[in-house]
Amino acid sequence: MTLKHPAAALVALALFAMQLTACGGPRTGRVSGDGEVVYEDPQAEETVTTHWGSTDLQTTAESLTQSLLASRWIKDASAQPKIRLREVRNFTDEHIDTKGITDKIRIMLLRSGLVRFLADDANLDAVFAERDLTETATRRGANKLLADTDYIITGTVRSIRKRTKTVGDVYYQVSLELTDPQSGEIVWADEKEIRKLTTKPTIGW
């Protein structure tokens, strides 16, 4: 088919363009709705409230990991020490998922390549269940590793909170200990202190 008339060619071109528009063309890898949703830097300083937040978790885990890696019990160990995470107890007046702190510390310590981690309380049941399933195919001696903990990590989170009509002040103290379970000796301990202050204007809208 040939379109000899210029107007007919123009109409055909316009129809073709409209069809392309209807198809949407290539997708860009982004779908958004009507709401205001944007991605932000997950490691940005977060100061929405004075409650325990992502910045507190990240800075605490990073600082304590750096301190732990600098301790001679880890840094100068002849072989990679085997560590098991125990509970970090929350003595504050708010809900804090302390496992978020220890999980991050464990990830960073494993990335360092200086330590080995044994299954902690949270996933020990899954480990035992898996071992029971595969027990016939493995030697019992291979499971001895589970009892050979060189060190355990324990800790506490505490807070002091004070508030007036216009000022709110919260102080967090996160302390961790590295303990030799055989001797009971605490070989390393360190803390991270955080203070946050919020003020409310006396005259508002």
Binding site: D41, Q43, E45, T55, Q58, T59, A70, M108, L109, S112
Partner: protein, 117 residues
Amino acid sequence: MSRISLFSLIVLCVLLLAGCGRSTHIYADNKDVEVDSITHIQDGEFLVVSAVLVSSDNDDATHSVYRMLWFDADGLLLEQTSWRPVVVKGGAPVHIRERSTIPGAAEYTLLISNDAS
């Protein structure tokens, strides 16, 4: 000492200096906070950086954030810390210390920014 030996010595010194040198970068968009000094040591396979931050504002405390980026010898990003809040008051230097936690860090960059809050 012959010219060739002297030339070889100079080249050797330059190569040694190049090998020892580490790229240190500081980027700051906060005009009130300055890096007074920054040093680093090699601790095994890890780098430890110590810096002193000072404020040019003598009256008010400056709320800032900083983060450290660690690069390997090829310039590839190994890890980065989260943004850390720091309060710098005029006349009171603040010492910060950061340690890489992944082996092989050879270069680092210190970023200092305005407090986002």
